[in-house]
Symmetry: C2
Subunit: 309 residues, 2 copies
Protein backbone atom coordinates (compact mmCIF):
# COMPACT_ATOMS: atom_id res chain seq x y z
CA UNK A 1 0.00 0.00 0.00
CA UNK A 2 1.14 3.50 -0.79
CA UNK A 3 1.77 4.92 2.64
CA UNK A 4 2.66 8.26 4.12
CA UNK A 5 5.83 7.34 5.90
CA UNK A 6 6.29 10.45 7.91
CA UNK A 7 7.40 8.32 10.78
CA UNK A 8 9.20 5.08 10.37
CA UNK A 9 8.37 3.89 13.85
CA UNK A 10 5.78 3.19 16.41
CA UNK A 11 6.15 5.10 19.60
CA UNK A 12 4.95 4.31 23.06
CA UNK A 13 3.96 0.90 24.28
CA UNK A 14 4.57 -0.83 20.98
CA UNK A 15 7.97 0.67 20.32
CA UNK A 16 10.14 -2.06 21.74
CA UNK A 17 8.14 -4.78 20.05
CA UNK A 18 8.47 -3.12 16.69
CA UNK A 19 12.17 -2.35 16.97
CA UNK A 20 13.63 -5.27 15.13
CA UNK A 21 16.69 -3.55 13.67
CA UNK A 22 20.16 -4.90 14.20
CA UNK A 23 22.06 -3.51 17.15
CA UNK A 24 24.68 -1.06 15.89
CA UNK A 25 28.08 -0.36 17.40
CA UNK A 26 27.70 1.79 20.54
CA UNK A 27 29.19 4.90 18.95
CA UNK A 28 27.70 4.62 15.47
CA UNK A 29 24.91 6.96 14.44
CA UNK A 30 21.70 5.02 14.89
CA UNK A 31 18.01 5.29 14.31
CA UNK A 32 15.46 5.39 17.10
CA UNK A 33 14.51 1.78 16.38
CA UNK A 34 18.13 0.69 16.51
CA UNK A 35 18.78 2.44 19.81
CA UNK A 36 15.66 1.01 21.37
CA UNK A 37 16.53 -2.47 20.14
CA UNK A 38 19.95 -2.10 21.76
CA UNK A 39 18.52 -1.21 25.17
CA UNK A 40 19.36 -3.66 27.93
CA UNK A 41 17.00 -4.63 30.78
CA UNK A 42 18.76 -2.13 33.04
CA UNK A 43 17.84 0.69 30.68
CA UNK A 44 14.25 0.15 31.73
CA UNK A 45 12.64 0.79 35.09
CA UNK A 46 9.37 -0.69 36.33
CA UNK A 47 6.70 1.80 37.33
CA UNK A 48 6.31 1.93 41.10
CA UNK A 49 2.74 0.81 41.87
CA UNK A 50 2.70 3.17 44.85
CA UNK A 51 3.15 6.11 42.45
CA UNK A 52 0.93 4.88 39.65
CA UNK A 53 -2.76 5.70 39.18
CA UNK A 54 -5.36 3.88 37.12
CA UNK A 55 -8.12 6.12 35.80
CA UNK A 56 -10.92 3.75 34.78
CA UNK A 57 -13.19 5.23 32.12
CA UNK A 58 -16.01 3.62 30.13
CA UNK A 59 -13.50 3.38 27.26
CA UNK A 60 -10.86 1.64 29.35
CA UNK A 61 -7.89 2.36 31.57
CA UNK A 62 -5.58 5.37 31.56
CA UNK A 63 -2.29 4.77 33.42
CA UNK A 64 -0.67 7.76 35.11
CA UNK A 65 2.77 7.96 36.70
CA UNK A 66 2.97 10.41 39.60
CA UNK A 67 5.95 12.68 40.26
CA UNK A 68 6.41 12.96 44.03
CA UNK A 69 9.91 14.37 43.53
CA UNK A 70 8.36 17.52 42.10
CA UNK A 71 5.01 17.81 43.87
CA UNK A 72 5.16 15.76 47.08
CA UNK A 73 2.20 17.40 48.80
CA UNK A 74 -0.06 17.27 45.76
CA UNK A 75 0.83 13.63 45.08
CA UNK A 76 0.15 12.70 48.70
CA UNK A 77 -3.15 14.58 48.68
CA UNK A 78 -4.33 13.01 45.43
CA UNK A 79 -3.49 9.57 46.78
CA UNK A 80 -5.45 10.34 49.95
CA UNK A 81 -8.43 11.45 47.88
CA UNK A 82 -8.11 8.40 45.62
CA UNK A 83 -8.03 6.04 48.60
CA UNK A 84 -11.17 7.65 49.99
CA UNK A 85 -12.90 6.99 46.66
CA UNK A 86 -13.29 10.73 46.21
CA UNK A 87 -13.08 10.60 42.40
CA UNK A 88 -15.18 7.46 41.89
CA UNK A 89 -18.42 8.42 40.18
CA UNK A 90 -17.24 11.95 39.42
CA UNK A 91 -16.65 12.84 35.77
CA UNK A 92 -14.56 14.38 33.07
CA UNK A 93 -16.21 17.76 32.81
CA UNK A 94 -14.09 19.50 30.18
CA UNK A 95 -12.44 18.65 26.87
CA UNK A 96 -10.94 21.58 25.00
CA UNK A 97 -9.40 20.94 21.61
CA UNK A 98 -5.61 21.32 21.41
CA UNK A 99 -5.49 22.01 25.14
CA UNK A 100 -6.70 19.91 28.09
CA UNK A 101 -9.23 17.46 29.44
CA UNK A 102 -10.16 18.00 33.07
CA UNK A 103 -11.97 16.04 35.74
CA UNK A 104 -13.36 16.63 39.19
CA UNK A 105 -16.58 17.35 41.03
CA UNK A 106 -19.04 19.26 38.81
CA UNK A 107 -20.60 20.59 42.01
CA UNK A 108 -17.34 21.66 43.63
CA UNK A 109 -18.48 25.28 43.64
CA UNK A 110 -21.65 24.51 45.58
CA UNK A 111 -20.87 24.01 49.25
CA UNK A 112 -24.16 22.20 49.83
CA UNK A 113 -23.95 19.80 46.92
CA UNK A 114 -20.24 19.14 46.62
CA UNK A 115 -18.67 15.90 47.67
CA UNK A 116 -16.96 15.77 51.06
CA UNK A 117 -13.19 15.92 50.85
CA UNK A 118 -12.59 13.65 53.88
CA UNK A 119 -9.01 13.58 55.09
CA UNK A 120 -7.77 15.23 51.93
CA UNK A 121 -7.22 18.94 51.38
CA UNK A 122 -9.22 21.17 49.05
CA UNK A 123 -6.25 23.48 48.58
CA UNK A 124 -2.51 23.27 49.12
CA UNK A 125 0.45 25.60 48.83
CA UNK A 126 1.59 25.74 45.21
CA UNK A 127 4.34 23.37 44.12
CA UNK A 128 5.17 25.15 40.87
CA UNK A 129 8.94 24.74 41.30
CA UNK A 130 11.34 22.99 43.66
CA UNK A 131 14.98 23.42 44.61
CA UNK A 132 17.55 21.82 42.33
CA UNK A 133 19.21 19.09 44.33
CA UNK A 134 21.72 16.28 44.09
CA UNK A 135 18.90 13.81 44.67
CA UNK A 136 17.15 15.01 41.52
CA UNK A 137 18.91 13.62 38.44
CA UNK A 138 18.70 15.82 35.38
CA UNK A 139 19.81 14.73 31.92
CA UNK A 140 20.07 17.96 30.04
CA UNK A 141 18.90 18.21 26.45
CA UNK A 142 21.67 19.60 24.24
CA UNK A 143 19.33 22.03 22.49
CA UNK A 144 18.12 25.43 23.67
CA UNK A 145 14.55 26.04 24.80
CA UNK A 146 12.63 29.29 24.60
CA UNK A 147 10.75 28.90 27.86
CA UNK A 148 13.56 27.95 30.26
CA UNK A 149 17.34 28.31 30.61
CA UNK A 150 17.83 24.53 30.68
CA UNK A 151 15.53 21.65 29.79
CA UNK A 152 15.91 17.91 30.07
CA UNK A 153 14.58 14.87 31.87
CA UNK A 154 14.29 13.95 35.52
CA UNK A 155 13.13 10.48 36.52
CA UNK A 156 11.35 10.09 33.20
CA UNK A 157 9.60 13.46 33.23
CA UNK A 158 10.22 16.46 30.96
CA UNK A 159 11.62 19.18 33.18
CA UNK A 160 13.35 22.55 33.24
CA UNK A 161 15.89 24.31 35.43
CA UNK A 162 17.12 27.80 36.08
CA UNK A 163 20.70 27.82 37.40
CA UNK A 164 20.31 31.45 38.46
CA UNK A 165 17.44 30.72 40.83
CA UNK A 166 18.39 27.15 41.65
CA UNK A 167 14.85 26.01 40.85
CA UNK A 168 13.56 23.08 38.79
CA UNK A 169 10.07 22.37 37.48
CA UNK A 170 8.07 20.02 35.31
CA UNK A 171 7.11 21.09 31.77
CA UNK A 172 3.64 21.12 30.19
CA UNK A 173 4.21 18.53 27.47
CA UNK A 174 1.56 16.31 25.88
CA UNK A 175 0.13 13.93 28.47
CA UNK A 176 1.26 15.82 31.56
CA UNK A 177 -1.05 15.86 34.60
CA UNK A 178 -1.73 19.06 36.49
CA UNK A 179 -3.79 20.33 39.40
CA UNK A 180 -6.39 22.90 38.35
CA UNK A 181 -6.61 26.04 40.40
CA UNK A 182 -8.55 29.28 40.69
CA UNK A 183 -6.92 32.69 40.57
CA UNK A 184 -4.86 32.32 43.72
CA UNK A 185 -1.57 30.44 43.37
CA UNK A 186 -2.46 28.29 46.38
CA UNK A 187 -6.05 27.58 45.32
CA UNK A 188 -5.37 24.17 43.76
CA UNK A 189 -4.73 20.92 45.53
CA UNK A 190 -5.48 18.01 43.23
CA UNK A 191 -9.25 17.57 43.68
CA UNK A 192 -9.55 18.88 40.13
CA UNK A 193 -7.03 17.47 37.65
CA UNK A 194 -6.23 18.03 33.98
CA UNK A 195 -4.16 16.36 31.28
CA UNK A 196 -2.60 18.14 28.29
CA UNK A 197 -4.08 16.81 25.02
CA UNK A 198 -2.61 19.25 22.51
CA UNK A 199 0.44 21.24 21.57
CA UNK A 200 2.43 21.85 24.74
CA UNK A 201 1.08 24.94 26.59
CA UNK A 202 4.46 25.77 28.05
CA UNK A 203 3.31 29.21 29.19
CA UNK A 204 1.59 27.31 32.03
CA UNK A 205 4.95 26.15 33.37
CA UNK A 206 5.58 27.58 36.85
CA UNK A 207 1.94 28.70 36.91
CA UNK A 208 0.30 25.40 37.82
CA UNK A 209 1.42 22.42 39.85
CA UNK A 210 2.23 19.47 37.61
CA UNK A 211 2.26 16.13 39.38
CA UNK A 212 2.55 13.34 36.83
CA UNK A 213 2.02 12.15 33.29
CA UNK A 214 -0.07 9.66 31.36
CA UNK A 215 2.06 6.69 30.32
CA UNK A 216 -0.63 4.54 28.67
CA UNK A 217 -4.13 5.16 27.32
CA UNK A 218 -3.71 8.79 26.22
CA UNK A 219 -6.02 8.11 23.29
CA UNK A 220 -8.84 7.48 25.77
CA UNK A 221 -8.56 11.11 26.83
CA UNK A 222 -7.48 12.78 23.59
CA UNK A 223 -10.40 11.45 21.53
CA UNK A 224 -13.15 12.46 23.96
CA UNK A 225 -15.76 14.68 22.33
CA UNK A 226 -14.89 18.32 22.80
CA UNK A 227 -17.14 20.31 25.09
CA UNK A 228 -19.12 23.05 23.38
CA UNK A 229 -19.22 25.39 26.37
CA UNK A 230 -16.69 28.08 27.21
CA UNK A 231 -13.16 26.63 27.52
CA UNK A 232 -14.42 23.23 26.39
CA UNK A 233 -16.67 22.52 29.37
CA UNK A 234 -19.48 20.11 28.67
CA UNK A 235 -22.75 21.98 28.72
CA UNK A 236 -25.00 19.24 30.08
CA UNK A 237 -24.44 16.46 32.64
CA UNK A 238 -25.20 13.84 29.96
CA UNK A 239 -22.13 14.87 28.00
CA UNK A 240 -19.76 14.29 30.90
CA UNK A 241 -17.63 11.17 30.86
CA UNK A 242 -18.10 9.22 34.09
CA UNK A 243 -15.10 8.12 36.11
CA UNK A 244 -15.74 4.53 37.12
CA UNK A 245 -12.80 4.58 39.50
CA UNK A 246 -9.44 6.15 40.18
CA UNK A 247 -7.08 3.78 41.99
CA UNK A 248 -3.52 3.66 43.23
CA UNK A 249 -2.00 0.67 41.40
CA UNK A 250 -0.70 -0.86 44.62
CA UNK A 251 -4.30 -1.06 45.89
CA UNK A 252 -5.34 -3.10 42.84
CA UNK A 253 -4.91 -6.89 42.90
CA UNK A 254 -1.68 -7.75 41.14
CA UNK A 255 -3.36 -9.75 38.39
CA UNK A 256 -5.42 -6.67 37.43
CA UNK A 257 -2.48 -4.32 37.24
CA UNK A 258 -0.93 -2.93 34.07
CA UNK A 259 2.70 -3.99 34.49
CA UNK A 260 4.68 -1.35 32.63
CA UNK A 261 8.27 -0.27 32.29
CA UNK A 262 9.54 3.13 31.24
CA UNK A 263 12.87 3.80 29.59
CA UNK A 264 15.26 5.40 32.06
CA UNK A 265 16.28 8.95 31.21
CA UNK A 266 19.64 8.91 33.00
CA UNK A 267 21.55 6.42 30.84
CA UNK A 268 23.84 6.39 27.83
CA UNK A 269 21.06 4.64 25.92
CA UNK A 270 18.80 7.58 26.65
CA UNK A 271 21.32 10.06 25.31
CA UNK A 272 21.72 8.02 22.14
CA UNK A 273 17.95 7.86 21.80
CA UNK A 274 17.69 11.64 22.00
CA UNK A 275 20.42 12.00 19.38
CA UNK A 276 18.59 9.57 17.07
CA UNK A 277 15.69 12.00 17.17
CA UNK A 278 17.74 15.19 16.85
CA UNK A 279 19.07 13.97 13.52
CA UNK A 280 16.98 11.31 11.87
CA UNK A 281 18.96 8.72 9.96
CA UNK A 282 15.97 6.95 8.43
CA UNK A 283 16.27 7.27 4.63
CA UNK A 284 12.87 8.94 4.44
CA UNK A 285 14.34 12.13 5.95
CA UNK A 286 16.00 14.54 3.54
CA UNK A 287 16.78 17.36 5.98
CA UNK A 288 17.72 16.30 9.54
CA UNK A 289 16.55 18.93 12.03
CA UNK A 290 19.74 19.08 14.11
CA UNK A 291 17.53 19.98 17.04
CA UNK A 292 14.76 18.58 19.16
CA UNK A 293 12.18 20.30 21.30
CA UNK A 294 11.68 19.10 24.86
CA UNK A 295 8.13 17.97 24.17
CA UNK A 296 9.12 16.18 20.96
CA UNK A 297 11.28 13.61 22.72
CA UNK A 298 9.39 10.33 23.02
CA UNK A 299 9.32 8.68 26.45
CA UNK A 300 9.08 4.96 25.63
CA UNK A 301 6.91 2.74 27.79
CA UNK A 302 6.45 -1.00 27.33
CA UNK A 303 4.73 -3.94 28.92
CA UNK A 304 7.06 -5.40 31.52
CA UNK A 305 8.71 -8.60 30.25
CA UNK A 306 7.03 -11.62 31.83
CA UNK A 307 10.12 -12.50 33.87
CA UNK A 308 10.07 -9.07 35.48
CA UNK A 309 6.47 -9.31 36.62
Amino acid sequence: MRTLRIVALLLGAGAAASARAQTPAPDAPATFAEVLASATPSDWRPLNPENTLYLELPGGRVVIELAPAFAPQHVANVKTLVREGYFDGLAIIRSQDDYVVQWGDPDAGDEKKRRAIGKGQRTLPAEFTRAVGAELPFTRLPDPDGYAPEVGFSRGFPAARDPASGRAWLAHCYGMLGAGRDEGADSGGGAELYVVIGHAPRHLDRNVTLLGRVVQGMERLSTLPRGTGAMGFYETPDERVPIRALRVASDVPERERSALEALRTDTATWERLVESRRNRREPWFKEPAGHIGLCNVPLPVRAAPKAAQ
Copy 2:
Protein backbone atom coordinates in the same frame (compact mmCIF):
# COMPACT_ATOMS: atom_id res chain seq x y z
CA MET B 1 -18.50 26.57 39.74
CA ARG B 2 -14.94 26.01 40.76
CA THR B 3 -13.12 26.09 37.46
CA LEU B 4 -9.62 25.48 36.23
CA ARG B 5 -8.96 28.80 34.63
CA ILE B 6 -5.81 27.93 32.79
CA VAL B 7 -7.04 29.98 29.89
CA ALA B 8 -9.17 33.01 30.29
CA LEU B 9 -10.37 32.96 26.70
CA LEU B 10 -11.98 31.06 23.95
CA LEU B 11 -9.88 30.71 20.87
CA GLY B 12 -10.88 30.12 17.30
CA ALA B 13 -14.25 30.92 15.87
CA GLY B 14 -15.75 32.09 19.12
CA ALA B 15 -12.92 34.38 20.10
CA ALA B 16 -14.26 37.63 18.74
CA ALA B 17 -17.70 37.04 20.13
CA SER B 18 -16.34 36.36 23.58
CA ALA B 19 -13.96 39.28 23.65
CA ARG B 20 -16.03 41.83 25.46
CA ALA B 21 -13.24 43.67 27.25
CA GLN B 22 -12.86 47.40 26.98
CA THR B 23 -10.54 48.65 24.30
CA PRO B 24 -7.28 49.83 25.90
CA ALA B 25 -5.02 52.60 24.70
CA PRO B 26 -3.04 51.45 21.63
CA ASP B 27 0.30 51.31 23.45
CA ALA B 28 -0.85 49.95 26.80
CA PRO B 29 -0.10 46.36 27.71
CA ALA B 30 -3.22 44.39 26.93
CA THR B 31 -4.66 40.94 27.23
CA PHE B 32 -5.50 38.77 24.26
CA ALA B 33 -9.20 39.51 24.72
CA GLU B 34 -8.55 43.24 24.83
CA VAL B 35 -6.44 43.19 21.68
CA LEU B 36 -8.98 41.12 19.82
CA ALA B 37 -11.79 43.42 20.93
CA SER B 38 -9.81 46.39 19.61
CA ALA B 39 -9.37 44.88 16.14
CA THR B 40 -10.98 46.86 13.33
CA PRO B 41 -12.67 45.34 10.28
CA SER B 42 -9.48 45.90 8.27
CA ASP B 43 -7.55 43.68 10.71
CA TRP B 44 -9.56 40.76 9.35
CA ARG B 45 -9.45 39.21 5.89
CA PRO B 46 -12.14 37.01 4.35
CA LEU B 47 -11.03 33.56 3.27
CA ASN B 48 -10.78 33.34 -0.50
CA PRO B 49 -13.33 30.69 -1.63
CA GLU B 50 -11.02 29.73 -4.47
CA ASN B 51 -8.38 28.70 -1.90
CA THR B 52 -10.68 27.13 0.65
CA LEU B 53 -11.63 23.46 0.87
CA TYR B 54 -14.58 21.85 2.63
CA LEU B 55 -13.92 18.33 3.84
CA GLU B 56 -17.35 16.86 4.51
CA LEU B 57 -17.25 14.03 7.06
CA PRO B 58 -20.10 12.14 8.73
CA GLY B 59 -19.41 14.34 11.78
CA GLY B 60 -19.62 17.58 9.83
CA ARG B 61 -17.48 20.02 7.88
CA VAL B 62 -13.77 20.73 8.22
CA VAL B 63 -12.70 24.02 6.60
CA ILE B 64 -9.18 24.20 5.18
CA GLU B 65 -7.34 27.25 3.88
CA LEU B 66 -4.84 26.46 1.13
CA ALA B 67 -1.44 28.13 0.81
CA PRO B 68 -0.69 28.60 -2.90
CA ALA B 69 2.09 31.06 -2.05
CA PHE B 70 4.10 28.17 -0.60
CA ALA B 71 3.00 25.15 -2.63
CA PRO B 72 1.48 26.38 -5.90
CA GLN B 73 1.75 23.08 -7.77
CA HIS B 74 0.40 20.97 -4.92
CA VAL B 75 -2.49 23.37 -4.35
CA ALA B 76 -3.36 23.36 -8.06
CA ASN B 77 -3.15 19.57 -8.21
CA VAL B 78 -5.32 19.07 -5.12
CA LYS B 79 -7.92 21.43 -6.58
CA THR B 80 -7.87 19.51 -9.87
CA LEU B 81 -8.37 16.25 -7.97
CA VAL B 82 -11.12 17.78 -5.84
CA ARG B 83 -12.96 19.08 -8.92
CA GLU B 84 -12.84 15.61 -10.47
CA GLY B 85 -14.45 14.20 -7.33
CA TYR B 86 -11.31 12.15 -6.72
CA PHE B 87 -11.64 12.21 -2.92
CA ASP B 88 -15.41 11.73 -2.73
CA GLY B 89 -16.13 8.32 -1.24
CA LEU B 90 -12.52 7.75 -0.21
CA ALA B 91 -11.73 7.69 3.50
CA ILE B 92 -9.64 8.73 6.43
CA ILE B 93 -7.38 5.71 6.73
CA ARG B 94 -5.09 6.69 9.59
CA SER B 95 -5.37 8.40 12.99
CA GLN B 96 -2.24 8.32 15.10
CA ASP B 97 -2.37 9.81 18.57
CA ASP B 98 -0.38 13.02 19.08
CA TYR B 99 0.60 12.99 15.41
CA VAL B 100 -1.57 13.00 12.27
CA VAL B 101 -4.79 11.92 10.61
CA GLN B 102 -4.46 11.02 6.95
CA TRP B 103 -6.81 10.43 4.05
CA GLY B 104 -6.62 9.09 0.53
CA ASP B 105 -7.28 5.98 -1.52
CA PRO B 106 -6.85 2.81 0.58
CA ASP B 107 -6.12 0.98 -2.67
CA ALA B 108 -3.59 3.48 -3.96
CA GLY B 109 -0.86 0.85 -3.92
CA ASP B 110 -2.83 -1.55 -6.13
CA GLU B 111 -2.66 -0.45 -9.75
CA LYS B 112 -5.69 -2.54 -10.66
CA LYS B 113 -7.95 -1.39 -7.86
CA ARG B 114 -6.89 2.17 -7.30
CA ARG B 115 -8.99 5.11 -8.37
CA ALA B 116 -8.08 6.86 -11.63
CA ILE B 117 -6.28 10.13 -11.10
CA GLY B 118 -7.80 11.83 -14.19
CA LYS B 119 -6.17 15.12 -15.12
CA GLY B 120 -4.39 15.32 -11.76
CA GLN B 121 -0.88 14.11 -11.01
CA ARG B 122 0.04 11.21 -8.75
CA THR B 123 3.38 12.81 -7.95
CA LEU B 124 4.91 16.25 -8.18
CA PRO B 125 8.28 17.82 -7.56
CA ALA B 126 8.64 18.59 -3.84
CA GLU B 127 7.68 22.07 -2.66
CA PHE B 128 9.38 21.84 0.72
CA THR B 129 10.74 25.40 0.59
CA ARG B 130 10.43 28.45 -1.64
CA ALA B 131 12.51 31.55 -2.29
CA VAL B 132 12.07 34.45 0.10
CA GLY B 133 10.53 37.26 -1.90
CA ALA B 134 9.13 40.75 -1.60
CA GLU B 135 5.70 39.38 -2.51
CA LEU B 136 5.75 37.13 0.55
CA PRO B 137 5.05 39.18 3.68
CA PHE B 138 6.68 37.84 6.84
CA THR B 139 5.94 39.15 10.31
CA ARG B 140 8.79 37.83 12.36
CA LEU B 141 8.19 36.49 15.84
CA PRO B 142 10.50 38.25 18.33
CA ASP B 143 11.49 34.98 20.01
CA PRO B 144 14.07 32.42 18.91
CA ASP B 145 13.11 29.01 17.53
CA GLY B 146 15.13 25.83 17.74
CA TYR B 147 14.20 24.49 14.31
CA ALA B 148 14.80 27.54 12.11
CA PRO B 149 16.84 30.75 12.06
CA GLU B 150 13.70 32.91 11.86
CA VAL B 151 10.03 32.13 12.42
CA GLY B 152 6.90 34.15 11.98
CA PHE B 153 3.72 34.42 9.96
CA SER B 154 3.05 34.77 6.25
CA ARG B 155 -0.49 35.34 4.99
CA GLY B 156 -1.89 33.76 8.13
CA PHE B 157 0.34 30.69 8.15
CA PRO B 158 3.12 29.78 10.58
CA ALA B 159 6.35 29.90 8.62
CA ALA B 160 10.13 29.93 8.86
CA ARG B 161 13.00 31.52 6.95
CA ASP B 162 16.71 31.06 6.57
CA PRO B 163 18.43 34.31 5.55
CA ALA B 164 21.57 32.37 4.64
CA SER B 165 19.83 30.27 2.01
CA GLY B 166 17.12 32.76 1.10
CA ARG B 167 14.48 30.08 1.56
CA ALA B 168 11.13 30.15 3.37
CA TRP B 169 8.83 27.29 4.36
CA LEU B 170 5.67 26.47 6.26
CA ALA B 171 5.92 24.96 9.76
CA HIS B 172 4.27 21.77 11.05
CA CYS B 173 2.01 23.31 13.68
CA TYR B 174 -1.27 21.88 14.96
CA GLY B 175 -3.84 21.82 12.14
CA MET B 176 -1.40 22.11 9.25
CA LEU B 177 -2.19 20.18 6.05
CA GLY B 178 0.54 18.23 4.26
CA ALA B 179 0.96 15.94 1.27
CA GLY B 180 2.01 12.42 2.23
CA ARG B 181 4.90 10.93 0.32
CA ASP B 182 6.92 7.73 0.02
CA GLU B 183 10.68 7.66 0.43
CA GLY B 184 11.51 9.82 -2.57
CA ALA B 185 11.29 13.57 -2.04
CA ASP B 186 9.20 13.89 -5.21
CA SER B 187 6.89 10.96 -4.47
CA GLY B 188 4.02 13.02 -3.03
CA GLY B 189 1.55 15.17 -4.88
CA GLY B 190 -1.57 15.68 -2.81
CA ALA B 191 -3.61 12.55 -3.56
CA GLU B 192 -2.83 11.52 0.01
CA LEU B 193 -3.17 14.27 2.61
CA TYR B 194 -2.59 14.55 6.35
CA VAL B 195 -3.37 17.02 9.14
CA VAL B 196 -1.31 17.47 12.32
CA ILE B 197 -3.43 16.58 15.39
CA GLY B 198 -0.78 16.66 18.12
CA HIS B 199 2.28 18.45 19.39
CA ALA B 200 3.97 20.11 16.42
CA PRO B 201 6.25 17.59 14.63
CA ARG B 202 8.62 20.32 13.48
CA HIS B 203 11.25 17.77 12.39
CA LEU B 204 9.01 17.24 9.35
CA ASP B 205 9.59 20.84 8.23
CA ARG B 206 11.42 20.91 4.89
CA ASN B 207 10.80 17.16 4.58
CA VAL B 208 7.19 17.23 3.39
CA THR B 209 5.18 19.69 1.32
CA LEU B 210 2.75 21.63 3.47
CA LEU B 211 -0.08 23.26 1.55
CA GLY B 212 -2.63 24.64 4.00
CA ARG B 213 -4.20 24.51 7.43
CA VAL B 214 -7.50 23.70 9.06
CA VAL B 215 -9.30 26.88 10.11
CA GLN B 216 -12.53 25.36 11.45
CA GLY B 217 -13.65 21.91 12.53
CA MET B 218 -10.32 20.59 13.83
CA GLU B 219 -12.19 18.69 16.54
CA ARG B 220 -13.81 16.58 13.81
CA LEU B 221 -10.36 15.25 12.96
CA SER B 222 -8.64 15.30 16.35
CA THR B 223 -11.30 13.20 18.11
CA LEU B 224 -11.44 10.41 15.53
CA PRO B 225 -10.75 7.00 17.06
CA ARG B 226 -7.06 6.16 16.83
CA GLY B 227 -6.11 3.38 14.46
CA THR B 228 -4.68 0.29 16.13
CA GLY B 229 -2.42 -0.70 13.24
CA ALA B 230 1.18 0.38 12.73
CA MET B 231 1.49 4.19 12.65
CA GLY B 232 -2.20 4.54 13.52
CA PHE B 233 -3.60 3.01 10.34
CA TYR B 234 -7.06 1.55 10.71
CA GLU B 235 -6.85 -2.22 10.48
CA THR B 236 -10.19 -2.92 8.81
CA PRO B 237 -12.21 -1.04 6.18
CA ASP B 238 -15.09 -0.67 8.66
CA GLU B 239 -12.96 1.50 10.90
CA ARG B 240 -12.20 4.03 8.17
CA VAL B 241 -14.05 7.32 8.25
CA PRO B 242 -15.75 7.95 4.90
CA ILE B 243 -15.22 11.21 3.07
CA ARG B 244 -18.62 12.32 1.85
CA ALA B 245 -17.10 15.02 -0.30
CA LEU B 246 -14.14 17.34 -0.63
CA ARG B 247 -15.05 20.61 -2.37
CA VAL B 248 -13.48 23.90 -3.33
CA ALA B 249 -15.59 26.51 -1.53
CA SER B 250 -16.12 28.51 -4.71
CA ASP B 251 -17.83 25.46 -6.26
CA VAL B 252 -20.34 25.30 -3.40
CA PRO B 253 -23.52 27.39 -3.62
CA GLU B 254 -22.99 30.58 -1.66
CA ARG B 255 -25.74 29.85 0.85
CA GLU B 256 -24.00 26.58 1.78
CA ARG B 257 -20.59 28.12 2.34
CA SER B 258 -18.90 28.72 5.70
CA ALA B 259 -18.21 32.45 5.50
CA LEU B 260 -15.12 32.96 7.63
CA GLU B 261 -12.57 35.65 8.30
CA ALA B 262 -9.05 35.20 9.61
CA LEU B 263 -7.09 37.79 11.56
CA ARG B 264 -4.40 39.32 9.35
CA THR B 265 -0.85 38.59 10.45
CA ASP B 266 0.76 41.70 8.93
CA THR B 267 -0.79 44.40 11.11
CA ALA B 268 -0.04 46.32 14.29
CA THR B 269 -2.98 44.52 15.89
CA TRP B 270 -1.31 41.21 15.12
CA GLU B 271 1.93 42.28 16.79
CA ARG B 272 0.02 43.40 19.87
CA LEU B 273 -1.82 40.10 19.90
CA VAL B 274 1.45 38.18 19.86
CA GLU B 275 2.78 40.32 22.71
CA SER B 276 -0.39 39.66 24.73
CA ARG B 277 0.49 36.00 24.54
CA ARG B 278 4.22 36.36 25.17
CA ASN B 279 3.47 37.93 28.52
CA ARG B 280 0.03 37.21 29.86
CA ARG B 281 -1.53 40.04 31.81
CA GLU B 282 -4.57 38.12 33.00
CA PRO B 283 -4.44 38.06 36.82
CA TRP B 284 -4.50 34.25 36.81
CA PHE B 285 -0.88 34.18 35.59
CA LYS B 286 1.82 34.47 38.22
CA GLU B 287 4.89 34.02 36.01
CA PRO B 288 4.65 35.50 32.50
CA ALA B 289 6.67 33.40 30.04
CA GLY B 290 8.39 36.27 28.23
CA HIS B 291 8.43 34.02 25.19
CA ILE B 292 6.10 32.29 22.80
CA GLY B 293 6.66 29.32 20.55
CA LEU B 294 5.65 29.60 16.90
CA CYS B 295 3.00 26.91 17.26
CA ASN B 296 1.59 28.44 20.45
CA VAL B 297 0.42 31.61 18.74
CA PRO B 298 -3.35 31.41 18.13
CA LEU B 299 -4.58 32.27 14.63
CA PRO B 300 -8.06 33.68 15.25
CA VAL B 301 -10.86 32.86 12.83
CA ARG B 302 -14.42 34.11 13.08
CA ALA B 303 -17.69 33.98 11.21
CA ALA B 304 -17.75 36.84 8.72
CA PRO B 305 -19.98 39.67 9.95
CA LYS B 306 -23.27 39.60 8.10
CA ALA B 307 -22.55 42.84 6.26
CA ALA B 308 -19.38 41.34 4.82
CA GLN B 309 -21.12 38.29 3.38
